[in-house]
């Protein structure tokens, strides 16, 4: 017994020394490391903002699939279901890029000015998961969704919003907003509102995602 007691005391001391500063049973440690920083000069005028809400759902059914002597089978295991619903909010912005804006885009005749603006483009500037709003339903024989799985579903959800951009009518609003932003600026500069004409290229095909969606500046790549 005399030999065991010092050994026990040592073990307890070792256990305590492994715990930082001897605080309560559990404590949060925090750290951060910077990975990448990329800077680029821009000349973009953002004219409209869209808040898009989506509930991403995933229904994970466990299937047992296989074959016995050439007979295929696919059996759903009802005890292995799990479901998740993830509410996400995505911010889309439309902009006009003045980087390639030249004298060819401007026609002046006396007091009249006619500006042909570059095609408006759309970019996803932010996305946010409502973590409090996530609902998970997991059967007894399945584990909860991991953080990695949830982030993957969120990414898929945002990508599916991109699919729906042509149907949202965003381009029309983007063009109107660009004109409504520039006309007050030109009137401040002394032009009469009736003498300002702002137009866009007419043959822009909104159904072609790569023509309207900014792949480079966006957080989601096509």
């Amino acid at each position: 017994m005399k030999r065991i007691l010092p050994l026990l005391a040592m073990l307890i001391l070792m256990a305590c020394s492994g715990h930082k500063k001897g605080e309560a049973d559990s404590q949060a440690k925090k750290d951060s490391i910077n990975l990448v920083l990329r800077i680029s000069r821009q000349n973009r005028l953002y004219t409209a903002e869209y808040q898009v809400h989506k509930i991403v759902t995933h229904d994970d059914l466990l299937h047992l699939k296989g074959s016995i002597l050439g007979f295929e089978y696919d059996q759903k295991i009802s005890l292995g279901d799990r479901k998740v619903a993830i509410p996400i909010d995505v911010t889309l912005k439309s902009y006009v890029d003045f980087a390639n804006f030249t004298e060819r885009n401007v026609e002046r005749s006396g007091d009249f000015i006619h500006i042909t603006l570059p095609d408006p483009r759309i970019v996803i500037t932010a996305s946010k998961v409502d973590h409090e709003g996530i609902r998970q339903y997991t059967s007894l024989f399945r584990s909860n969704y991991s953080d990695s799985e949830l982030t993957d579903f969120t990414r898929q959800g945002v990508e599916s919003i991109l699919e729906q951009i042509p149907q949202m009518g965003i381009l029309t609003t983007a063009r109107e907003s660009a004109a409504q932003t520039l006309i007050p600026l030109l009137t401040e500069m002394g032009y009469d509102e009736d003498h300002i004409v702002i137009t866009f290229r007419e043959d822009l095909d909104a159904s072609k995602r790569h023509e309207i969606y900014d792949n480079e500046g966006s957080v989601i790549k096509l």
Partner: protein, 205 residues
């Protein structure tokens, strides 16, 4: 009666044992010869999300002129230390794009005027155009051990946001944005036909 039940159970267990032996035999044989097994069994899970509609909650007309764009990536982690078991740990890599420029809403009255062939522009201070710049959809979960609640993930998000602001909103970057603002605004107004352009930017407080 008892004897019959025992005999029946023996038969059932015998059949199950035979089936298992056959399954093992075919599996080993197919592995050995490299041919597909006549008996196969595997579990499959759905990886893709369901197709659901998106809802546009708000459309707003804005006037933000961007002059500098900074893409940042930060690794943020948190841990809960336990005395007698492994520590719970969550490591996430966040991505964000910070846009620096001017907001037309901050412009004072008569901020853009002209005198003959000279355009005079008094721009408001350069600022971060939108505080919502993190894309959580591109967040990568680098390491996860233990169960983490919504509050822990919200805390990580806000820490990533603060870290990015601290790293990117530096005096040097604001100066870069101001220099580019002068260059771009001057070029734009020269394109519009002005011979001289004077740009004044209010200092950032």
């Amino acid at each position: 009666m008892k004897k019959k039940i025992i005999q029946f159970l023996k038969l059932v267990f015998g059949l199950i044992a035979m089936a298992l032996i056959l399954l093992a035999f075919f599996s080993i044989r197919s592995c050995w010869r490299g041919i597909p097994s006549p008996i196969s069994l595997h579990a499959s899970f759905q990886k893709e999300i369901d197709l659901t509609p998106s809802q546009i909650r708000a459309v707003e007309q804005i006037g933000e002129w961007e002059f500098l764009c900074i893409s940042d990536e930060e690794m943020i982690d948190t841990a809960i230390t336990h005395w007698f078991s492994r520590d719970d740990r969550l490591v996430r890599i966040y991505q964000g794009t910070l846009r620096l420029g001017i907001d037309f809403q901050d412009c004072q009255e008569h901020w853009a005027t002209s005198k003959g062939d000279t355009a005079i522009l008094r721009l408001p201070p350069i600022k971060l155009l939108d505080r919502r710049f993190i894309d959580e959809a591109r967040t990568r979960s680098f390491y996860e051990l233990g169960e983490w609640d919504a509050q822990a993930k919200e805390d990580l998000y806000h820490r990533a946001q603060q870290t990015m602001i601290k790293r990117c909103m530096t005096r040097e970057n604001i100066q870069r944005a101001e220099e580019n603002a002068r260059t771009q605004v001057e070029a734009l107004f020269r394109t519009l036909g002005y011979k001289a352009v004077r740009v004044e930017i209010q200092p950032n407080s």
